[in-house]
């Protein structure tokens, strides 16, 4: 537990609980339109493609591709060990379905934009599991 950084946690609501707490069951979940199958993130009350309100959380496979990243050296948040890797990843389930996250178990010199990644969950307080990403080939 001691190797975990201090994190500012999200405010969990009924609308986002599937995302922040799904890791407890090993699943990365996004909202999905049950009418036209569009994935929706961040959560919304309405499908942006077909305006259906019949939306439900579904798991994605947890694989992703690295879109971009930064190695942060600045202590914006006290207690967050430096440096750390921030990344935007995109999921194969839908073009443009992305997350801002952290890259872990990854040497900065081995990073290549486009590299395959997979989700790992970091357990935080309050039933929250943060979806982080590591190289798919470790």
């Amino acid at each position: 537990m001691s190797d975990k950084p201090f994190r500012i946690l999200p405010r969990v609501t009924p609308e986002n609980e599937h995302f922040w707490c799904g890791g407890g069951e090993g699943e990365l979940r996004f909202l999905r339109c049950q009418s036209c199958t569009t994935w929706i993130h961040p959560p919304a009350p309405l499908c942006p493609a077909c305006e259906s309100r019949d939306l439900a959380p579904e798991p994605v496979s947890g694989t992703a591709q690295l879109v971009t990243y930064t190695e942060n050296h600045q202590p914006w948040i006290p207690g967050f060990p430096l440096p750390y890797l921030i990344a935007i990843v995109e999921f194969p389930e839908q073009k443009g379905l992305r997350l801002t996250t952290n890259l872990v178990h990854c040497d900065v010199d081995s990073i290549a934009i486009g590299m395959p990644l997979r989700v790992v969950f970091e357990e935080a307080d309050e039933g929250i599991y943060l979806p982080l990403f590591e190289p798919a080939e470790i």
Partner: protein, 399 residues
């Protein structure tokens, strides 16, 4: 173009700026008073003539400490203004969205003379420590929500991190290098050396740039702007009213306020450009002028990469060609084909947050740049502000 371009009924009739600097420990409302009264006087108006008021981001928003120094109500109360129209808020096409709003107000007759202001006191508010992240001061019980819900839990607590990832993606797609990007910072520093009000005026070399500590790759310290305390103000008047005033009006030729992609730092379709692309395209669709007609460009540099992004978006070079375009720095220098950030930008002159660029555009069009005046009697200028999903721009002319 079939219909009238209504923003051409608007003009900038006066500008004002407080003293600005690092940790001034001055009341931000007092700085605001200095800028506002200077702008009113500059236009040859009196307080009683002001019937509109506009600002970004206004009071009551959560940002980094010192992000907002005065809101609409405080300024109306302080100056005892009788207002027919007013507006203040953060949900605008960039900081200059407050000025674009004012143009719309005078063009539609809701006001004749709108006082626009933007005050920051980030340097004093953030003290002597390192630069603050957004929303990180709430203590152990604080929980991230809104757009910060998706970034803060991962330590992405600053636009520095978000824009750095845009830059990294640009590097990846187009082969842009840190050596090229450095020219934005070096150009700003050269120009700041000629601006007596600029914060950092000592010469900077490429070696100095590469020796600076890393903030968030690919950004080093010199890719990030310098927080200051200060206030900038404009009077946006109806062109008809401006013609009778002290100065030759700076006319508004066209504005760009579009955002067609998703309003998100990580879900936007093309992470190498964002709002600048849409705002610039809209602006050019509203004028017969072309990039080659522009004599001077003041392009937001909260982070160096944003200037490069605006250069591409505005068509000074092709998409993805910003790196080679700024390489060596000659094209964007004072004597170059398109002088950029002639006051030193936010990187070296100081982070007056968007409004400094339009201020400098007017200074150059009025020929009052002193040592940093662009040669050749500039007639056409661009002021563009904002990065990521925030962006707005104005094309302004002297004649």
């Amino acid at each position: 173009m079939g219909s009238e371009i209504l923003e051409r009924r608007a003009a900038i009739s006066g500008i004002g700026q407080s003293e600005y600097g690092r940790r001034m420990e001055r009341d931000p409302l007092a700085l605001t008073a200095d800028a506002c009264l200077a702008a009113i006087e500059d236009a040859g108006l009196r307080r009683q003539d002001i019937d509109g008021l506009s600002t970004y981001p206004g009071a009551g928003i959560q940002g980094a400490p010192g992000f907002t120094g005065a809101g609409v109500s405080e300024v109306q109360e302080m100056l005892r203004l009788d207002l027919d129209w007013f507006c203040g808020g953060p949900e605008l096409p960039g900081q200059l969205g407050a000025v674009i709003n004012a143009c719309a107000a005078v063009a539609t007759g809701l006001a004749r003379h709108v006082l626009c202001f933007r005050t920051v006191w980030e340097s004093t508010a953030q003290g002597k420590g390192r630069r603050a992240g957004i929303g990180t001061g709430g203590g152990g019980s604080f929980r991230a929500s809104g757009i910060m819900e998706w970034t803060l839990p991962f330590g992405a607590a600053s636009a520095a991190c978000w824009i750095a990832m845009m830059a990294q993606r640009h590097f990846h797609e187009y082969g842009t290098t840190r050596e090229q990007l450095a020219q934005i910072a070096l150009n700003a520093r050269r120009n700041a050396g000629l601006n007596p009000k600029a914060i950092y005026r000592d010469p900077m070399s490429l070696e100095d740039y590469f020796a600076a500590r890393m903030i968030t790759t690919p950004f080093c310290l010199f890719d990030c702007d310098v927080p200051v305390d200060g206030s900038t103000a404009f009077i946006v008047s109806s062109l008809e009213a401006a013609r009778d005033l002290r100065r030759p009006p700076v006319r508004v030729e066209a504005v760009g306020s579009a955002l067609h992609g998703r309003p998100s730092w990580d879900q936007f379709d093309d992470l190498t450009t964002m709002a600048a692309r849409d705002a610039a395209k809209m602006m050019w669709s509203r004028t017969d002028l072309r990039p080659a007609d522009v004599d001077v460009a003041q392009l937001y540099d909260g982070f160096s990469f944003i200037t490069l992004s605006w250069l591409e978006a505005l068509g000074f070079c092709g998409v993805g060609e910003g790196g080679p375009f700024i390489e060596g720095g000659q094209r964007i220098a004072l004597e170059g084909e398109i002088p950029v950030n002639t006051h030193g930008g936010q990187l070296s002159a100081g982070r007056l947050h968007g409004f400094g660029f339009l201020h400098e555009a007017c200074v150059q069009l009025w020929g009052e740049g002193g040592e940093r005046q662009v040669p050749g009697d500039p007639q056409v200028a661009i002021a563009a502000a904002g990065g990521g999903p925030l962006g707005g721009c104005l094309l302004v002319t002297r004649s």
